[in-house]
């Protein structure tokens, strides 16, 4: 195999592009795809300050690395989930990456800062662990982005992530979620602008990027996520991709180009958003979904002991 650019020995094939690359030109390919996504979807402006949601895995470290390479001022926020045998190790990778590049990383730890962990929260709230984790991440990353005055919150969601979520939402025709699948979600009251700069890159490319850049990352999968539905969708899509390279890209970008706007509800049909009486975050009732979770898990807000009595009402999902 020869590199498409320089004709030197290739180290990776990207069948979706019918291309092979040497290490140098593969890294350039990744940066170009991110720059193209940022420009094409108007994710960021030059000079924007970006908060990167960091997990210690390949995607979040790669997107942080690429944003810095592209000249953005990007800081990281790592959220410790309190998962034995997993969280301490993933935190170590996040810290090592930040230290090696002189980048700023804030660490928030659920057990010590909020008094709960994902396993106990899932049990108490009768949610699956990934649901309790996602809710916690969305709330705390949003809050941190607002507190730090960042222009945008960047996540490491890649093409495989977006195609798998779209696949799952289409299988069940979850129209309310289909309207939220754009790679940039504009800022709202209490919400930062959220961007997914890796949407033009698959997760195999992100793993290869990390290997070639010498980025050590958490290879082991989260024990809470093993065998979940999302991974099943990815495996199904990879089987299709193996026979039909480019299928995932066509699926997701065809949706964005032709259909996505049909699923965005008009302004007047959107649920009214107020402020949570406990934490001040956007909420569809008195108490936001995160504070509901905290209450059930026996946790507390970082700034208080969690002893403020509240009457629980129905809240709207915070995913956006």
């Amino acid at each position: 195999m020869k590199c498409r650019v320089c004709r030197g020995p290739a180290v990776i094939d990207v069948r979706r592009h019918n291309a092979n690359f040497c290490g140098e030109h593969f890294l350039r390919h990744c940066r170009e795809q991110v720059a193209r996504a940022i420009k094409g979807h108007e994710m960021l402006e030059p000079g924007d300050r970006v908060l990167v949601a960091v997990s210690g895995g390949k995607d979040s470290l790669a997107v942080w690395d690429i944003l810095v390479e592209l000249g953005y001022e990007a800081d990281g926020l790592y959220l410790g989930l309190g998962i034995d045998g997993y969280s301490p190790e993933s935190e170590r990778f996040a810290r090592a990456f930040a230290e090696s590049r002189g980048l700023s990383l804030e660490v928030v730890d659920l057990p010590s800062d909020y008094g709960y962990d994902i396993r106990s929260a899932a049990r108490a709230a009768k949610r699956v662990p990934c649901s309790a984790c996602g809710l916690s991440k969305r709330h705390l990353f949003d809050e941190a982005a607002g507190r730090g005055g960042y222009d945008a919150l960047a996540t490491g969601h890649n093409l495989d992530d977006e195609a798998a979520v779209l696949f799952g939402n289409v299988l069940r025709w979850q129209a309310e979620y289909l309207g939220r699948q754009k790679p940039v979600l504009q800022a709202g009251e209490g919400f930062p602008r959220k961007v997914k700069p890796l949407v033009r890159l698959g997760e195999r490319e992100m793993a290869a990027y990390c290997v070639l850049r010498g980025i050590d990352y958490m290879v082991e999968e989260c024990p809470m996520a093993q065998g979940n539905r999302h991974i099943g969708y990815k495996e199904a899509l990879n089987s299709i991709e193996d026979r039909s390279p480019g299928a995932k890209h066509a699926f997701y970008f065809g949706f964005l180009d032709r259909v996505a706007d049909l699923f965005i509800p008009p302004e007047e049909e959107r649920a009214p958003i107020g402020a949570c009486v406990r934490c001040g975050a956007p909420a569809g009732s008195d108490v936001c979904a995160f504070c509901h979770l905290l209450e059930r898990a026996g946790g507390h807000l970082a700034c208080d002991g969690g002893d403020v009595p509240v009457e629980l009402g129905r809240s709207v999902p915070e995913s956006r």
């Binding site: 092979n20 995607d59 996602g134 195999r204 991709e241």
Partner: protein, 66 residues
């Protein structure tokens, strides 16, 4: 050759030499789901693996909370 697989971690011994694509087919692993790494370096699909090689097949699929 010795083949180390991740997620879950296990080791298998395979006959060599063999092309990367043939090894993945023999193990029933879709190419899109993994990287093949030899001595810290990526190995492309058409590369030959020797009988004395030690290979890592690293899953690239991750999932969980969004």
């Amino acid at each position: 050759m010795i083949v180390e697989l991740r997620n879950p971690e296990r080791t298998v011994e395979m006959d060599g030499p063999m092309a990367v694509i043939a090894l993945l087919a023999r193990l029933g692993i879709p190419r899109e789901s993994v990287l093949v790494i030899r001595e810290g370096t990526l190995v492309p699909g058409d590369a030959m693996l020797g009988r004395d090689d030690r290979i890592e097949i690293r899953s690239v699929i991750s999932g969980g909370a969004r």
